[in-house]
């Protein structure tokens, strides 16, 4: 029986690693050297079993210094990744620091992308702070609290796909904290009222 349960901020599972998972694992093995990250949005539901793929794997990172960002960029490029802009200065100052996401993908495979954004809003920072460590087979990844995902998808995004993602998480996770969902819901509604 699978029913996932987060205990003390951790969860363990043994699953078949998909090509999408492998892309995420490989790309994050570079990023994690330079920044704290947390996976969010559709990929969270997919990692925990939702029967769909995605082209965009979204994540938040902590504030990152220009030096660390340029090191990350250089290593990624040297390992055959590309970015939406080929100028790291512009990526850092005009995108990341301007609250825009940057895209990273395997050379010649631009349809599957990591979308990296700095956590600026309080709920996004809380998502990073309260991230869960998920051990899979031989490694681990950091995911947003499931309660945050459910709240954000149901209160803000609200597309059919997002409502379905939220429903999936509600069913496969055990002991979800309903107070945390309510609290995240109030917070994101307040934050996104002003854009």
């Amino acid at each position: 029986m699978t029913e996932f349960e987060v205990v003390n901020g951790e969860l363990r599972l043994n699953k078949h690693i998909t090509k999408l998972d492998q892309f995420v694992i490989d790309a994050l093995s570079i990023l994690e050297k330079y920044a704290n990250y947390v996976l969010i949005s559709g990929y969270v539901s997919i990692f925990f079993g939702r029967a769909r793929a995605t082209e965009d794997v979204d994540l938040f990172i902590d504030e990152i210094t220009p030096e660390n960002f340029f090191k990350f960029y250089d290593e990624a490029v040297s390992r055959d990744y590309e970015f939406n802009i080929e100028n790291p200065e512009e990526l850092y100052h005009e995108y990341l620091q301007d609250n825009l996401s940057i895209n990273m993908w395997r050379k010649k495979l631009p349809l599957i992308r990591l979308e990296i954004k700095i956590a600026k809003k309080q709920s996004q920072k809380m998502s990073l702070k309260n991230k869960i460590k998920v051990f899979y087979n031989g490694g681990f990844l950091f995911f947003s609290p499931i309660e945050y995902q459910i709240a954000y998808k149901k209160a803000i995004l609200k597309s059919d796909k997002d409502m379905e993602d939220a429903r999936h998480l509600e069913i496969v996770f055990k002991n979800l904290n309903k107070e945390a969902i309510d609290s995240y819901t109030k917070l994101v509604l307040e934050e996104f009222k002003y854009g």
């Binding site: 699978t2 999408l20 029967a51 939406n84 010649k108 349809l111 599957i112 496969v172």
Partner: protein, 58 residues
């Protein structure tokens, strides 16, 4: 929400919930991998992908 779609989402989630990781993830991997392979087969350029995705909120 489309009632039929949500019915199948719930049905699949229930399958994930009551079965071992090994069982559900093998089926899921086949589905996800086939979608990824289809995307790779399209071999679109970065510019073509940007064109398709244009309009997406950042």
């Amino acid at each position: 929400m489309d009632k039929q779609r949500i019915f199948f989402v719930e049905k699949w989630a229930e399958f994930v919930r009551i079965n071992d990781d090994e069982k559900w993830s093998k089926i899921q991997a086949e589905l996800v991998d086939s979608q990824i392979e289809n995307a790779q087969d399209m071999a679109l350029t970065k510019e073509q992908v940007d064109y398709i995705k244009r309009g997406k909120l950042q």
